[in-house]
């Protein structure tokens, strides 16, 4: 079959459907992953001994376990103890846990880089600790964590492909199915790869713009770049 025809008439339309699923995975995972990351980082940094221990252990376990194994546990493992998710839900939960754990590391690093004076100044104005964290510390820390967080977001885009391993037919899954059906492997996976490259590159550009938008003049970028 003509390659061009294959790519444009068969592969790309199919990939569009896969892309929708991939985007769905990302859009569901990213906000909760960020929220989890903030929560875990704050819990670890400002929580009591028990909470901070729990947060630390959570990060330790998630970072130590391959994401694919985590997905297997959520999708194939949990039903054996009576908890059943759809493949899509299991994937999203897995991505949130993983993304959240890694995000929390960047946010914690950023929290540590905020000088003590900020907390003291906020409390001197009559803010409670929680208010100070929410209104003074976090906004600064999140800005500093942007490079790291966007890296994790890019990882999320790429690792969303693992959902296919638990039967979610997203971008790479569609690619695999088409490739197998037509016996055209190299071209198919190259095109699939290019779609991911496009997603990643667009994100990188968007992040750069975002970073400029939220930048505060004079706030130390060097500290953020180091993370």
């Amino acid at each position: 079959m003509d390659q061009i025809a294959f790519i444009f008439d068969i592969l790309l339309p199919a990939l569009m459907q896969g892309l929708v699923v991939t985007l769905k995975l990302i859009v569901w995972s990213a906000p909760f992953g960020l929220a989890l990351g903030i929560g875990v980082a704050a819990g670890r940094q400002y929580g009591g001994p028990v909470l901070s221990r729990v947060c630390k252990t959570f990060v330790f376990l998630i970072k130590g376990t391959p994401l694919l194994l985590l997905l297997f546990i959520l999708y194939f493992g949990l039903p054996s103890i009576g908890i059943t998710f759809t493949a899509l839900t299991a994937s999203v939960i897995g991505f949130i846990l993983c993304n959240g754990a890694y995000n929390s590391e960047y946010i914690r690093g950023a929290l540590l880089s905020i000088k003590d004076g900020q907390m003291i100044a906020a409390q001197a104005l009559g803010m409670t600790r929680a208010q100070a964290i929410r209104n003074v510390i976090m906004p600064q820390a999140l800005r500093r964590a942007i490079p790291g967080l966007s890296n994790e977001f890019i990882y999320l885009i790429k690792y969303s492909s693992l959902a296919y391993m638990i039967t979610v037919v997203e971008l790479s899954g569609v690619g695999k199915n088409v490739a197998t059906k037509y016996f055209i492997y190299t071209e198919t996976f190259m095109v699939v790869g290019i779609v991911y490259l496009a997603l990643v590159t667009i994100t990188t550009v968007a992040v750069n713009i975002l970073e400029k938008r939220v930048a505060v003049p004079g706030m130390n970028r060097a500290a953020a770049a180091q993370l």
């Binding site: 330790f60 130590g64 391959p66 194994l69 297997f72 790429k158 190299t186 790869g193």
Partner: protein
């Protein structure tokens, strides 16, 4: 009790799975250094076309999901160039290594670029050739500066190696799912497997930290971590 005896029954397979996982990781890290270091040098000291070519390589291998890379090479590229008979283990290690090289080259590049230009100037002023200067002044410093960042490649590589399950490499995750499907002791087996991964992960990190301490030089690189 049940689980334990099953684990003992399957222990030869588990050990083989662990060996395959570590084999993937070590070979891939090795390929990553062997390619990543020259690539970093090329990106810093090379001519424009060289820098450009390496940039494309890095962009490509960092931009694609590991799963898609594995599919691409396993189903497409290797059979396409007549290497369809390569064992999945070899393909997995090579793909992880090629991808690792892209990541590692950026770690090394950053380290090389963080070394003050004075080091090169002083070396050249003593009559060292560019090659000798790079080899005996720049690289020994760059490697030390790069080590903490490089150490992160180990856990990343370890967790990524599990994706080789997708092309049928008999590594730890593949062995795990095989045991699960034979014994139906789903959760305990998965959790045991996660435990092994976690041990390998943090055990390896401990070893690497030990190496970092051993090659530490007073006052050197401490700021660059």
């Amino acid at each position: 009790m049940d689980v334990l005896s099953i684990l003992i029954d399957w222990s030869p397979y588990i050990v083989a799975g662990i060996a395959a996982t570590l084999g993937l990781v070590l070979i891939a890290l090795g390929i990553g250094i062997l390619l990543g270091l020259p690539m970093a040098l090329g990106q810093v000291y090379g001519s424009r076309p060289v820098r450009w070519a390496i940039g494309i390589y890095v962009w490509f291998f960092r931009g694609l999901p590991i799963l898609v890379l594995l599919f691409l090479f396993w189903f497409g590229i290797f059979p396409g160039i007549g290497l369809g008979d390569l064992p999945a283990f070899v393909v997995g290690a090579v793909v992880l290594g090629l991808r690792g090289a892209a990541y590692q080259s950026q770690i090394f590049r950053g380290a090389i670029q963080s070394i003050g230009e004075g080091q090169m100037i002083a070396a050249r002023s003593l009559g060292m050739s560019r090659f000798i200067a790079i080899y005996s002044v720049i690289l020994p410093q760059a490697m030390r500066i790069a080590l903490p960042g490089w150490s992160n490649e180990y856990p990343n590589m370890l967790t990524d190696s599990a994706v080789c399950y997708a092309i049928g490499v008999a590594e730890l995750l593949t062995v795990t799912s095989r045991i699960v499907s034979q014994t139906y002791l789903t959760m305990p087996i998965f959790l045991a497997s996660a435990g092994i991964f976690i041990l390998l992960n943090y055990g390896g990190i401990k070893v690497l930290h030990g190496v970092e301490r051993r090659i530490a030089i007073p006052g050197f690189g401490s700021g660059a971590v």
